[in-house]
Symmetry: C2
Subunit: 169 residues, 2 copies
């Protein structure tokens, strides 16, 4: 899928078909994360690729806003070094992974944030010097999505020309 088309149409997907995601697509998603740019090229991230049903269920049990993780064929747990730049870098990597997935027909959603998943660190053996930034479940959408209709503020409200408050549009 063309880049802008992916950006324009990607939507949060919280219901997944049972269909497994082929290995080459999983690999492309992880590669998208790995290849992302970061501050001073520190790459302060680690991606834990979870496909075992039991682990997915346990992740879901720890994520009040993400019970649907249990139904996903794949979740990537994104762990990052401490600090605000790592949050920024990790967010860029997640964005790339979600777009790469969407471009191959795979939906996803961002679940949680730093400080909310300390309980899953022992489950996945994540060391103390990393935080869990997000659990991102992936799967083929169970229902038709992607019409590109998004609820967003109008351009005039979020963009200015030359100086804050001068309409861009």
């Amino acid at each position: 899928m063309e880049t802008f088309e992916a950006i324009r149409t990607v939507l949060a997907v919280r219901q997944y078909r049972d269909t497994p995601i082929p290995d080459d697509v999983v690999r492309e998603i992880v590669e998208a994360g790995r290849l992302t740019a970061s501050a001073s090229n520190k790459q302060p991230w680690h991606f834990i690729v979870v496909r075992e049903k039991d682990t997915l269920r346990q992740l879901a049990a720890h994520a009040p806003t993400g019970p649907y993780i249990a139904q996903a064929p794949l979740a990537i747990v994104v762990a990052i070094a401490h600090g605000p730049l790592s949050v920024s870098d990790g967010s860029r990597a997640i964005q790339d992974m979600m777009l790469a997935a969407w471009s191959r027909g795979v939906g996803s959603n961002w679940v949680g944030f730093t400080g909310r998943f300390d309980a899953i660190k022992p489950l996945l053996g994540i060391p103390d010097d990393l935080d869990v930034l997000a659990i991102v479940p992936f799967g083929y959408p169970a229902t038709s999505v992607g019409a590109g209709k998004k609820n967003r503020k109008p351009l005039g409200e979020v963009a200015s020309r030359e100086r804050f408050g001068q309409p861009f549009a």
Copy 2:
């Protein structure tokens, strides 16, 4: 450009040709930011689209790591609401803008971070309740880039299978 190809090949570009960026491409870049997903769909961002040479020069003067902003035909100043979720959301929007630009042949680079640009807030009339997350200069690359050769940690170092430390690759 296909989405994964854009993610795979995008590189920081710090030298730009004089060629202006056509309005429709500028608009697509800003739209990419606007359409990005954010926590609770808050869209806690504002994009200031700067093309006036004098303003670009002043932005460059305030950015010790970004003197090349003065040579860019365009810079987008990304302002965000306070807080870590805004840093994350704004970072996702910047990632989308950089990819949308690259997909149209336009290079860019992330300059600065929150807390480093308070001095440009009066220059651009940015209100106190917003922070400047980044200045992102855009332009057609002055030299040939994009061979897709990136300096990144190997997959085995940044990705695990099922549990931290079990090699993914």
